[in-house]
Amino acid sequence: MKQPLLNVENLSCAIGSVRIADNLNLQVKAGHCWGILGPNGAGKTTLLHALGGLHPIDAGSIRYRGKPLEGFTPKSLARERGLLFQTELGGFPGTVFETVLTGRHPYLGSLGWEQPEDLERAAQAIEQVGLKGLENRDAQTLSGGERQRMEIATLLAQQPRVALLDEPSNHLDPGQQIIMLRMLKTRFTGTDRALLMVLHDCNLAIRFCDYLLLLKGDGEYLAGSVESLATAEHLSWLYQHPVSLQHIDGYACLRFQ
């Protein structure tokens, strides 16, 4: 039995007065795609940051391939897990190519100089998100959707084993949402990678994820396969709003009453 890429045991964490999770147990194995759903303010983003080692936890342990978070140097951890953030980039000028190239930082030597391989990977990542031709554009002049795709490209260049994505479909048009999520799933669920993403759109989560983590916002949670959790009953409980479920073209589709 292969050990999980990300193993969370008895995790408790909070932000301010919000209990995000009490005694959370989670095993993210290679090839799996997890979706995190929950109402506004439930702490989905903070949980994602905690899993990435960017937010303190109150109790429990987070291990990547069996090794606790504290056992990693910052650079080695950045090769293990990568994050896609929801917040905007800072206000300094830089081109799309330069921004995507920052994803290679965990692999740079002590001189910090990018090698041809790093340049190649950044160029490939830009191509994969469909921004080829915009390499030399000032990143600040991109549209919201293009900027989101640039950030996805940065994560692709980083090539972490576990990708922690916060709202990857933000700012993307409906077609691009499907294209990007499909591409991310292909790239991060091979034999040695996994994907964990916070999503607002339950239909996207049902379509792309194998497992769901439902965060209620009071420390309660449910984790399990999409089949077991994507039901009208569970999602009505989660959002405190009546939901009905229909099947269209073989996919479960939600309708909020």
Binding site: H49, P74, L83, F92, P93, T102, H105, P106, G112, E114
Partner: protein, 330 residues
């Protein structure tokens, strides 16, 4: 095969080196006794016992090299503070660091402390001001807009104290004090000090450059990509404070270099610190050398405060570049 993005910036760096050399030569040639370009090279290396040799070696060279060093240090301090606060408006002058140093020096003058105390007082004042700034603004995390606002308010507070000291001071002392407040390189006799500080600062900053590039993207992004953000912030803070304190204690409160030099380079070649650091240092150094040359020659035999000229040179250049880059974007 994609090209390394920094390769296209190398010609610019080369041009800036040429510009710096031209500024240094201009500064050495111009003055009450002008020295022709043809003689300059020979006089630099060869003591022919002439008055010109003594003018160059005893008067102009120390002052010019000091201006070069101080200008570079101010530009570097600006780069570091802008990276720390992730705000292109950060600058030792605007954040009140220079103001703190000025208050300390003026107080020493008012109390009649010997001249030798001025540099240490300035150093202490600058450090105290930075400590105060961070103690007031650092509440668990580095909220950049809070830091910037705190700095601006501190600067206003120092300005009030400066006015207070000036109004208490005997009229005889006022010209010296005012001159010092606007920056003054006429007493800078030991260029080795600012040049050594500059060299050390540039080396450390270049070593940090990849981490600085990520820090501009935001604390969390930098941490996610493998930067030890807490350590980086502490190093930046200490280094920026030391550099500013050194510059202010040598040449007084000279503004705008730390703001304008990095910004000019960003508009020309982007924000990558591996180009930004050497480029901004060269621009800042050249700018201060030019400003100081103008300060001692424009209304010779009287001297102007160099800070007035850095502002007079810097403000229009800054506005022009800003205007041009926004025009390009729309």
């Amino acid at each position: 095969m994609p090209r390394h993005p920094l390769k296209k910036a190398l010609p610019l760096l080369f041009l800036l080196v040429l510009l710096a050399i031209a500024c240094l030569a201009t500064s050495l040639m111009i003055g009450s006794a002008s020295i022709p370009a043809a003689d300059l090279w020979r006089l630099l290396w060869q003591d022919d016992g002439s008055v010109q040799y003594r003018i160059i070696h005893e008067l102009r060279l120390p002052r010019t090299l000091s201006a070069f060093g101080v200008g570079g240090v101010l530009a570097l301090a600006g780069v570091l503070m802008q990276a720390l606060l992730r705000n292109p408006l950060a600058d030792p002058y605007i954040l009140g660091v220079s103001g703190g140093a000025a208050v300390a020096v003026l107080a020493a003058m008012l109390l009649g402390l010997p001249l030798i105390w001025q540099a240490p007082m300035a150093f202490g004042g600058a450090l105290t001001s930075t400590l105060l700034l961070f103690a007031l603004a650092h509440q668990g995390n580095w909220n950049t807009s809070r830091l910037l606002l705190t700095g601006v308010v501190l600067a206003a507070g120092w300005a009030a104290l400066i006015s207070f000291i000036l109004s208490l001071s005997p009229p005889m002392q006022l010209p010296g004090m005012l001159f010092w407040l606007m920056g003054d390189l006429s007493d800078a006799r030991y260029p080795a000090l600012p040049l050594a500080v500059l060299a050390a600062g540039v080396l450390i900053t270049l070593w940090l450059a990849p981490a600085l590039n990520l820090a501009l993207l935001g604390t969390q992004r930098a941490a996610a990509l493998g930067v030890e953000v807490r350590h980086l912030h502490i190093i930046l803070y200490v280094l920026a404070s030391l550099l500013t304190a050194a510059a202010v204690s040598i040449a007084g409160a000279i503004g705008f270099i730390g703001l304008i030099a990095p910004h000019m380079l960003r508009l020309l070649a982007g924000s990558d610190h591996r180009i930004l650091v050497p480029g901004a240092v060269l621009i800042g150094a050249s700018l201060l050398v030019l400003a100081d040359t103008a300060a001692r020659t424009l209304i010779a035999p009287m001297q102007l405060p160099v800070g007035v000229l850095t502002a007079l040179l810097g403000v229009p250049v800054f506005l022009l570049l800003l205007n041009k880059s926004y025009g390009k974007r729309t």
